[in-house]
Symmetry: C2
Subunit: 379 residues, 2 copies
Amino acid sequence: MSDAIRHTPAGPTTEATEHSGASASQGRIIISVDAMGGDRGPNAVVAGIARSAKKNPDIGFILHGPTSDLKRMVQRRKVLRGRVEYRDARDIVRMEDKPSHVMRHGKDTSMWSCLESVRNKEATVAVSCGNTGALMALSMIRLRKIPGVNRPAIAVLWPSRNPSGFNVMLDVGADVRADEEDLLQYALMGASYARNGMHLDRPRIGLLNVGTEENKGRAELKAAHDLIEKAAPGGHFEFVGFVEGGDIPGDVCDVIVTDGFTGNIALKTGEGTAKLIGDLLKEAFKFSPLSRIAAVLALTSMRRLQKRIDPRRVNGGVFLGLNGTVVKSHGSADATGVAAAVKLAFQLAQQDLTNKIKARVASASASEQDAAEVNKVAE
Amino acid sequence: MSDAIRHTPAGPTTEATEHSGASASQGRIIISVDAMGGDRGPNAVVAGIARSAKKNPDIGFILHGPTSDLKRMVQRRKVLRGRVEYRDARDIVRMEDKPSHVMRHGKDTSMWSCLESVRNKEATVAVSCGNTGALMALSMIRLRKIPGVNRPAIAVLWPSRNPSGFNVMLDVGADVRADEEDLLQYALMGASYARNGMHLDRPRIGLLNVGTEENKGRAELKAAHDLIEKAAPGGHFEFVGFVEGGDIPGDVCDVIVTDGFTGNIALKTGEGTAKLIGDLLKEAFKFSPLSRIAAVLALTSMRRLQKRIDPRRVNGGVFLGLNGTVVKSHGSADATGVAAAVKLAFQLAQQDLTNKIKARVASASASEQDAAEVNKVAE
């Protein structure tokens, strides 16, 4: 633990001082990072955090995995000097491991250790490229749900026509079912995320349905429509009502609320469609000598387009509704992807997202109780 | 009714003989076409059927709407001479009309009349560009469900990586709920559609879920998984098990089975994503003088790509599970779109899809009853 950050308050390194300009390592926001379990191994993770460290002097890391190996990788990167603390973990959660197995036998894994640092308040946000199901299962038992939240949710950013370039959608797969109360909580959590992660003062919330008329869709959606509408003024968001699948990449709202089954299918359908079009586009450019010349001339424009919809730029589903925020990076994330996940984790930690969601959920249930009391008196 | 086709068996016109080479108009397959209710009016519909008539000498039409207006439009197109019969209908179902209203007050509409021609066996397939909800509601009450089918479904073709370029997905919005028995029927109907509309001998069926492991997803999906697996040998299709959203534009199966809520969201998400990428692509090509030159050089390749994923080429959701097939064309369909819908209608009529589905559903319920009997005896 010679590189400890929080535990060596006496010694900010020269390098850190150079970057931050002033403060000691205590001033940094600490992100807990699972170095293992991604498809590209710990090298990609270390390269990613090095990139983040270079861009942002206010981040420090706790890195989970086999310490001796990780140290060797970190020491090759000057920018990480004095900014990484290690927690030794010998086991790895693999992509094919079942969540139930990991819950019972995963105590020595880097993923478990990564969440532990959030649980014991050494860090407020965790980042992992590992197995999503296992990460959600471990997050549930180790971090536990915020009081008043029934089902945590996974939120993702989605390329859209909005000025920011993105929408938030939740839940995209934490749970296959959601009733009206769950959907209300997703709306509250999504609004907090949009405010703190996307800097939108008064996010517009839409409820995903098969039509925009109020009498359409499933019963729980009609009930959720009323609940979210009532919560809007107190929750400091605007409720735009029902939205359709076509509005997910659109600009009528900033947050799309849906159950984890529908959200997961929509997410993967959108990704698959984008991938198919991308591949067909490449084929089209290869078709004739003329189109090959066109491809060269269009290179910069195409790169700009690719960057605009590059999933690595918005890498990371965020687990909301737990005592601590967890950023799930793509399993295939490279250094760019890991750096994007760390950047998001930093923003959410800096804004203290977890406590803001806690306050929102508490205040919403309080007003519901108030309303119930008022109704009782009125009866 | 001077232009009547089926009712004037004596007189095939010269023009028809020229095109078909031999047979009289009785040999033609008659498609019932709602001329009204589309966004572009009856002109687009008449232009569309003229295009179909030119390509295929074996189609005849019954056209529903204000006869005097329609006759004027038809008479301007030589290719339609002797191939169109009229049914006068003064009312129009508008896009904003509620299905319940149309069911009660829609007797004089062109949509009602269009279905009536299928109901009274003058035609086996109906085509309409009108309001989907109203068309489904009217189809249910006028054509009625096939015995053994609980919920009819809307099936669409979807651009995919398959050799044919497309997958079938159903239900995309006839009903927001589906239990395991409904999903089994969708599998049977989807298999018949793929066999007869896409000429696939032994279509591969996938059941849409949030993961491919057998223990994933909602309870009704696990039950449906078993039912469809059991029905596969008798139904002459291959069951590939659970598939994910990313497989909708993929090549692991030919038919994607899901409930109408999820299917509708997936369809619109995919369409919206494709539209967003298309618009960003146009922007990218406009960005610099160099990219504008690239756009010119890439024009042919881009057109080929556009054609590959052009929704007009596969225009038409098909209502399955009714006594008669109904092809719902896009409301915004132009002549190309209408012609594509008519082509599909012709294929399905030629293959006698309705009766094939009837036979499949009957045989599946018979084998279920057989199995139940066997179980009873065994007990």
